[in-house]
C-alpha cells in the first residue's frame, strides 16, 4: 500500500499543484450539484490515498464523501447503478492496477448498457484512478493501462497532464452523459503550475499543441507530456524544432490535431508509457500512416515502456520507462 504523502508546504507564490487543482475541481463539483457524490477506498477520513480528497469529508459529510469496503466490483457497480438512477457519482479506484477487479462492471455494464437497451439507459459516471510508474512501487502497482480502456466503445478516456486540465476537466466529464475514465499520473500530483485565470472551462474533444515546432511532431499524454517537453527543450539546443502535442483525450482521439501537425513536420515520435505491443501508440502511429502517408519523410518512431513487469530497483525502473533521452534519440533518428 502507498504511504500517505503530506500536502507540500505551500510557498507564498501563486502556483498550484496538480493535486490541489484536482481537489478544487472535486470541491466545485460537490458544491454546485447535489447529485454529485464521491465514493472510494479511504477517500473520506484518510483524505484519499494520494491526498486528493483531503478535507472534503469535513466539508460535505459522510453521505457525499463515502469510504467503501475493499470491494472494487461492488462499489464501481454501485456507482453505475446510482448513475442509472440519475445521480452523478465520482468513483475513485485507488489505482488502475486495482481497476482490473472492476473491469467486468466497467466493460459489460457501464460501457454497454446504453447500446444494449436501445438507447433507454445512460451511465453519467466519472471513474478517477491513479496510473503509471516511476515511484518504485514495483510491478503490481506500476501499470499504465489507459490503452485498454481507450479500446472500448461507450467510454470516454481522459488524461489531464496540466494543472488547468486537472482543475477543469472534471466538471466537463460530469456533464458528459456517458462513463468517463479519468487517469491521473502518479508522478504529477506534486507538480506545480500556474492556473490560467482566463480558463474557466475546457473542452474534452481536442488535443493541445503544448509547444509549436517545425521539424518533428512528438505526441504524448499524461505523465509523458513533461518528458516530451523536456526532450523538445534539449532538441532545440541542437537546432531541431520539435512540436509537442498533448493528446488530453485518449478516446475519442483527436486525429486532426496530431495528423495535421505531422503533415507539416513530416516526422513523428509517439511517447506512451504502455508496453509497445498493442499499445495506444500503435493506434496513433497507424492513424498517422493511414492519413498522412505521403507526408512522411521517415518511419514513425515509438518510445514506450520496455516489455517487462516494472522492476523495483530505481535504475532498472528508469531503464524500463520512456525517458527524455530516449525521446531525443528517436527525434534524431527520424531527422537523420
Amino acid at each position: 500500500m502507498s504511504t500517505r504523502t503530506r500536502p507540500r508546504a505551500h510557498p507564498d507564490d501563486d502556483t498550484t499543484t496538480y493535486r490541489e487543482a484536482l481537489r478544487a475541481g472535486l470541491r466545485d463539483a460537490l458544491a454546485s450539484d447535489d447529485r454529485v457524490f464521491l465514493m472510494g477506498e479511504d477517500v473520506g477520513r484518510y483524505g484519499g490515498c494520494f491526498g486528493v480528497s483531503l478535507g472534503l469529508l469535513e466539508e460535505f459529510g459522510p453521505d457525499r464523501v463515502r469510504d467503501t469496503p475493499l470491494s472494487e466490483s461492488a462499489f464501481v457497480g454501485a456507482g453505475i447503478g446510482a448513475a442509472l438512477a440519475g445521480m452523478r457519482p465520482v468513483v475513485e479506484i485507488m489505482t488502475v492496477n486495482f481497476s482490473l477487479l472492476a473491469l467486468d462492471q466497467i466493460l459489460n455494464n457501464a460501457a454497454t448498457l446504453r447500446h444494449m437497451s436501445g438507447g433507454q439507459l445512460g451511465v453519467p459516471l466519472v471513474i478517477r484512478m491513479t496510473t503509471g510508474a516511476g515511484r518504485q512501487l514495483a510491478a503490481q502497482h506500476s501499470h499504465s493501462l489507459e490503452g485498454w480502456y481507450a479500446h472500448v466503445p461507450g467510454l470516454r478516456v481522459l488524461a489531464p497532464a496540466t494543472v488547468d486540465d486537472a482543475r477543469h476537466m472534471l466538471s466537463a466529464a460530469l456533464a458528459d452523459p456517458d462513463p468517463v475514465m479519468f487517469f491521473e499520473h502518479g508522478s504529477l500530483y506534486n507538480a506545480a503550475g500556474t492556473l490560467d485565470p482566463a480558463i474557466h472551462q475546457v473542452d474534452l474533444d481536442r488535443a493541445a499543441v503544448r509547444r509549436e515546432g517545425t521539424d518533428v511532431t512528438v505526441v504524448a499524454y499524461g505523465g509523458c507530456v513533461s518528458k516530451a517537453l523536456e526532450a523538445a527543450e534539449e532538441l532545440a539546443g541542437e537546432g531541431i524544432s520539435a512540436e509537442v502535442v498533448d493528446l488530453r483525450t485518449l478516446r475519442p482521439l483527436d486525429d486532426a490535431t496530431f495528423v495535421g501537425s505531422v503533415r507539416r513536420t513530416h516526422r513523428a515520435v509517439v511517447v506512451d508509457e504502455g508496453w509497445r505491443s498493442g499499445s495506444l501508440s500503435a493506434e496513433i502511429e497507424s492513424r498517422i500512416c493511414e492519413q498522412a502517408f505521403f507526408e512522411l519523410d521517415a518511419p514513425v518512431e515509438r518510445v514506450c515502456s520496455a516489455e517487462v513487469p516494472i522492476p523495483y530497483a530505481r535504475r532498472l525502473e528508469e531503464a524500463a520507462l520512456p525517458q527524455p533521452a530516449g525521446i531525443v534519440a528517436a527525434a534524431r533518428r527520424v531527422g537523420s
Partner: protein, 464 residues
C-alpha cells in the same frame, strides 16, 4: 396433416442425426410429447413434437443425418389444430426461410400434402423484388478515414472541391510519373531490382519538381532518398528545365504564338457598374447556405453568355477564311493551374443555365481542371472564351483570342470607384470588361454591342 421437422437445438446447429424413433405409425401423440432422440455434435437430445394427433408415416430412418427443418414424420392432426384457412399452411421454419429470401408465401404453390408449402417450394420460388439494398455506411471506423493515396504522386496538389458529395473518381492524369512507387523498406535490404529506396515525401516531391529518383544519391538510412536530397537535386539542376517539361505550360505557349501570328486583334473596353448585381447577390446569399452561395464570377459569366447569344457574329469559329457561327453558346473559362499553365474547359449552353447552375458548373469545372481530371468532351472548342475573372488583382485584362475562336472577353477586378450618378458624386463597385476580337470576323461596332449588352443585363440581376 402436420409435419414433425428436425428442430434447431442450439445457436450453431444446422443439421442433426435422427438416432432413435420413440413413436411408430398409428401411435397417438400430444403436443409436447417426446417423439424421438436426435444426436448433435454435442450430445443426444430428446425431441418433442408440437402437434397432437396420430403418427401417419416416418419419413426418415434411424441413423440418417438431415438439415434442420427437414420433415421427419407426418402426423394426422386432430381437427382443432388445422392451420387457419386464410394463411397458406406452412411450418414456422418454412415461414422463416421465406422471410429470409424475401419470398411472398401467398404467391407460392404448396406442393406438400394438403397444399402445404414445403422447404423445396420456397427454395425454387422467385424472390419478390427485394427492397433497394440499404446503402451500407458502416465501412470502416466512424469517421471516414481518407485513403492513404489522398494525393496521387505526380499530379498538381489537387484541391478537394466540395461542390458535390459524390466521391470524385480520381484517374491518374496523362502527366503521371512513370516508374515504380517505392516506400522505405525498413523490413530489411530485400529490394526489387530497379526499386529506389525513398521516403513517401521524397517520392512526391520528385514528381512535382520533375526529378528522376534514380539519379539522386540518398543520405537517409541505408542510402534512402529523402526530401532534402530531392530538393537539392532539383536546385542543382538549376537552369535547364527538367527532362519532362510541364506539358500544360508548353501547350499554352504554342497556342498563344499561333494566335498572335494569324489573328488581327482589335481591343475594346468598358466600365460596368456592379452595384445592383452585387446588392442582389448578397441578399440572395444571405438566405442560402454557404455551400450554395454565389460569387460575382457566376453573374459575370452569365452576362457574357447572354451577350454572346445577342451578338452571334462573335460566337463561333474562323475556319478556312470564313466565319462559322456556333449553334450554341459554349463559354470557355480560362483557369490558371497551380504551378503554371492554363486550361480552358468549356461551359455548354451557358446562356440557358440559371445563375445557380452556372455557379455549380463553374466550381466543378475549375476543381477538375486543377485536379487534372477534365473529360475530353469538356475541352472541346468553346465558341467564346472569358478570361481572368478579376482574380489576380489586375483591373483590366486584354487577353489573346484562342484560335479558331474570334473573340475573348476579359474581366478585371471589381473595385470601388468615384462615379457620377445622376450628376452627384458617388462611390460604386465597378468592373472593367474588355473584348479582344478577330477583325476578320467582326468590326468595332459589333464588339461594342456585345459589351453594352453585358452592361445592360448586369443592371437587372434578377433576370440573369
Amino acid at each position: 396433416m402436420a409435419e414433425f421437422t428436425m428442430p434447431s437445438l442450439g445457436a450453431d446447429m444446422d443439421e442433426g442425426t435422427l438416432s432413435q424413433w420413440l413413436v411408430h405409425p398409428g401411435d397417438q401423440v400430444a403436443r409436447g410429447d417426446v417423439v424421438a432422440v436426435v444426436e448433435t455434435d454435442k450430445s443426444a437430445i430428446e425431441v418433442e413434437c408440437f402437434e397432437s394427433g396420430t403418427v401417419d408415416t416416418l419419413l426418415v430412418d434411424e441413423g440418417t443425418t438431415v438439415p434442420v427443418g427437414t420433415p421427419l414424420a407426418r402426423i394426422g392432426t386432430t381437427a382443432g389444430s388445422e392451420p387457419t384457412a386464410d394463411r397458406p399452411p406452412s411450418t414456422p421454419l418454412v415461414r422463416r426461410l421465406a422471410q429470409d429470401r424475401h419470398v411472398d408465401l401467398a404467391a407460392v404453390h404448396g406442393s406438400g400434402p394438403g397444399g402445404r408449402i414445403t422447404r423445396a417450394d420456397v427454395e425454387h420460388a422467385e424472390p419478390a423484388p427485394a427492397p433497394a439494398p440499404a446503402h451500407d455506411r458502416t465501412a470502416g471506423p466512424a469517421e471516414s478515414t481518407r485513403t492513404a493515396t489522398g494525393r496521387q504522386p505526380g499530379t498538381e496538389p489537387a484541391r478537394q472541391k466540395r461542390n458535390d458529395s459524390r466521391p470524385q473518381e480520381r484517374t491518374a492524369p496523362a502527366t503521371g510519373p512513370p516508374g515504380p512507387v517505392a516506400g522505405v523498406d525498413s523490413a530489411g535490404e530485400r529490394q526489387a531490382p530497379r526499386r529506389v529506396r525513398s521516403s513517401p515525401l521524397a517520392r512526391r516531391l520528385a514528381t512535382e519538381l520533375g526529378v528522376d529518383l534514380a539519379e539522386v544519391t540518398g543520405t537517409g538510412r541505408g542510402g534512402a532518398v529523402r526530401a532534402d536530397d530531392v530538393r537539392s537535386a532539383a536546385a542543382a539542376e538549376g537552369a535547364p528545365r527538367p527532362a519532362v517539361p510541364n506539358a500544360a505550360r508548353a501547350a499554352t505557349a504554342r497556342l498563344m504564338s499561333r494566335s498572335k501570328r494569324e489573328i488581327p486583334h482589335f481591343y475594346l473596353s468598358t466600365t460596368v457598374d456592379m452595384a445592383a448585381a452585387l446588392e442582389w447577390m448578397r441578399a440572395r446569399n444571405r438566405e442560402l447556405p454557404l455551400s450554395t452561395g454565389l460569387v460575382p464570377a457566376a453573374l459575370l459569366l452569365k452576362a457574357v453568355a447572354l451577350a454572346a447569344r445577342k451578338v452571334p457574329e462573335l460566337n463561333g469559329h474562323w475556319v478556312d477564311d470564313g466565319f462559322v457561327p456556333a449553334e450554341e453558346v459554349r463559354l470557355g473559362v480560362a483557369v490558371s493551374l497551380r504551378g503554371g499553365g492554363l486550361a480552358a474547359p468549356s461551359l455548354a449552353h451557358a446562356d440557358t443555365l440559371s445563375v445557380d447552375e452556372v455557379m455549380a458548373a463553374l466550381k466543378d469545372l475549375v476543381g477538375r481542371a486543377r485536379g487534372g481530371r477534365l473529360r475530353a468532351s469538356e475541352t472541346a472548342d468553346p465558341s467564346l472564351t472569358v478570361t481572368n475573372l478579376g482574380e489576380q488583382g489586375v483591373e483590366a485584362v486584354f487577353g489573346v483570342v484562342y484560335p479558331p475562336q474570334v473573340a475573348l472577353v476579359g474581366l478585371g477586378r471589381i473595385v470601388e470607384r468615384p462615379v457620377a450618378v445622376d450628376g452627384l458624386l458617388g462611390v460604386r463597385p465597378v468592373v472593367t470588361a474588355t473584348l479582344s476580337a478577330d477583325h476578320r470576323a467582326a468590326d468595332g461596332a459589333t464588339g461594342a454591342r456585345l459589351l453594352s449588352t453585358m452592361d445592360r443585363v448586369l443592371q437587372q440581376p434578377e433576370e440573369l
